[in-house]
């Protein structure tokens, strides 16, 4: 039987507030363990939590940026469960009245546009961090807990089960990341756990509309793990079904080293969270005016930016899509164009040499050895005719390892384009004299033969002759 995959994602996105959601403890990453804690986030008796205003603002902006309806009346609830990373024995979250609902984002997968619906976005607090003393989670005899992260504000962004491949899930998560970066509510540093996903995967006979039994993998914190874990689950579930077995609804953990998912059996009925309204936190009522004020503060979002680059600069949909796919990339592009460099050349250089080098060395664009300003200056040297594009590639390679300005590199390495007619003419004459065969072919009407001669002149000039002038001079001499 042929199966189709159904995937839904719950993305947890850490907000970049200075303080925690219900207390004034700092949120900074990497602090000494158990130093960003207070009676409120440690869940000591008798304390009163108070909502951080910024969290609500960020949540509403995230909702608006993902086309959600904002609930003017929302409240917090207690989600009860026992786990040592949760000192209060409940997580303060939102149950039936979340801040935002019914949104969507569009993704592009292999040239196809697809709309992924968002069920809801709600605010909640993060849990602490368990440090296992054994070699892995199962071998530990005991655990140590660091509560610094307890109470750090999170958005949980819940999608409908609208994705049907690992690539779609990845693209969707990349889109959410880009939007959260654009609106500046999260640092989205995946290596610090700012952005992590719980992913649900199920299979059903192709064409069926009923959902199959799903498994869930929690806390996936890289795009690669997301894709690998989903692909593994698809394979595993297909095998189980084809052998006539049944999928058990369960939580599985993804082991990136071994590339497999493992069942995490737990004794208790973990899904009975017995939600109840949080009596210590009054409801949040947001006026339509406040919502509109937040909407007016939103920056240009990835889709709009992409459309603008296509319209204003004539970039291809593909190039514009890549350039706007992250805030850092879009800002790099803007900075290149701001130097006065041609917008289309800027896109070509980014899509070409820059991304190739960044990918090869796995460097993030924000840490690119060739800064936007220097790339812009180099492109302008090409535009002014100081260097050819071919020499540009040499200069770019040089800039990758050397912090000098492109003009200095061009000068130091003697790469200035030869635009002196006399100098080029001398080489042209020599090449014509040395290459009778292509000259003959050209004169016999095979105009393409000029290419070989141009190539020779460029070679003789070590790539420095202005190609356009070479072409013109050659044609003039051969046609005369």
């Amino acid at each position: 039987m042929k199966y189709e995959t159904v995937i839904g994602l719950e993305i947890h996105c850490e907000l970049k507030t200075k303080t925690k959601i219900f207390c004034g403890c700092e949120t900074g990453f990497g602090a000494e363990h158990n130093t960003h804690v207070c009676p409120v986030c440690l869940g000591l008796p008798g304390v009163l939590p108070t909502v951080n205003k910024r969290v609500v603002e960020f949540a509403i902006k995230a909702g608006l940026a993902t086309n959600c309806e904002i609930n003017q009346y929302c409240k917090f609830d207690r989600k009860n469960y026992y786990y040592p990373d949760l000192p209060k024995n409940w997580q303060t979250s939102q149950y039936d009245l979340p801040i935002a609902e019914h949104g969507w984002v569009d993704i592009d997968v292999e040239g196809e546009k697809k709309r992924i619906r968002l069920t809801r976005i709600h605010m909640e607090e993060d849990a602490g961090k368990l440090v296992h003393s054994g070699t892995n989670i199962k071998d530990s005899a005991s655990s140590n807990v660091d509560y610094n992260r307890t109470g750090v504000p999170l958005l949980e962004i819940v999608s409908e089960p609208d994705m049907s491949s690992a690539l779609e899930a990845r693209t969707y998560m990349e889109k959410i990341k880009a939007i959260m970066e654009y609106i500046d509510v999260s640092n989205c540093r995946m290596e610090e756990g700012n952005l992590r996903a719980d992913v649900n995967v199920s299979l059903r006979p192709a064409g069926s509309t009923e959902l199959g039994t799903r498994t869930e993998m929690k806390n996936i914190n890289s795009f690669k793990s997301l894709e690998d874990a989903i692909n593994y689950e698809i394979e595993r579930q297909t095998e189980v079904l084809e052998d006539g077995g049944e999928i058990i609804q369960e939580t599985r953990t993804w082991d990136p080293e071994r590339g497999i998912t493992l069942s995490m059996r737990s004794k208790e009925n973990a899904h009975d969270y017995r939600y109840m309204p949080e009596p210590d936190l009054p409801p949040i009522v947001t006026s339509p005016e406040t919502i509109e004020k937040f909407r007016s503060e939103l920056p240009e979002l990835p889709d709009a930016r992409r459309a603008r680059l296509e319209k204003d600069f004539g970039l291809s949909d593909y190039d514009a899509g890549i350039i706007t796919s992250s805030r850092a990339m879009a800002e790099y592009y803007d900075a290149v164009v701001a130097t006065g460099a041609d917008a289309k050349l800027a896109a070509n250089w980014m899509m070409g040499d820059l991304l190739k080098n960044l990918n090869a060395e796995a460097i993030d664009i924000s840490k690119s050895p060739v800064e936007a300003e220097r790339l812009g200056e180099m492109i302008r040297l090409i535009e002014k005719g100081t260097i050819s594009s071919k020499i540009g590639k040499k200069v770019f390679a040089e800039m990758w390892t050397c912090p000098d300005a492109p003009a200095k590199i061009v000068e130091d390495k003697g790469l200035v384009q030869i635009t002196d007619t006399g100098a080029i003419e001398a080489i042209v004459d020599q090449v014509i004299a040395d290459n009778p065969k292509p000259v003959e072919q050209y004169k016999a009407g095979k105009k393409k033969a000029i290419g070989a001669l141009v190539g020779q002149v460029m070679k003789q000039s070590k790539g420095k002759a202005n190609p356009q002038m070479v072409n013109e001079l050659l044609a003039k001499k051969l046609d005369s």
Binding site: K18, V51, H132, P283
Partner: protein, 96 residues
């Protein structure tokens, strides 16, 4: 009787309580009384009444996003039954 022994066992597990046979019988009766009382209340017609989500006439109590001093680590760990290298030490929780 609506409350069963299984209900008591289930609630006990969820609340991390150990309940003896004799206690289970006692609580079964008590919980049943509570639920019967709730049933009486639910006979009221509340069709036109908005659900209550918060008992006090309050809303929008916020604090600004300003850092306040945290606890000293020693103070934070002072009541911990077990500790190790500045961490709260707890028994392992996952089943193998």
């Amino acid at each position: 009787m609506k409350v069963t022994k299984e209900d008591i066992a289930n609630v006990a597990v969820l609340s991390r309580l150990s309940v003896s046979e004799a206690e289970a019988d006692k609580y079964m009766g008590q919980m049943d009384k509570i639920l019967t009382y709730m049933d009486n209340l639910s006979q009221l017609d509340t069709e036109s009444v908005k659900p209550t989500t918060y008992a006090l006439p309050m809303q929008n109590v916020f604090r600004e996003d300003v850092v306040r001093e945290s606890l000293d680590r020693e103070a934070a760990l002072a009541n911990a039954p077990l500790r190790e290298d500045g961490y709260f030490k707890v028994p392992k929780v996952l089943e193998g």
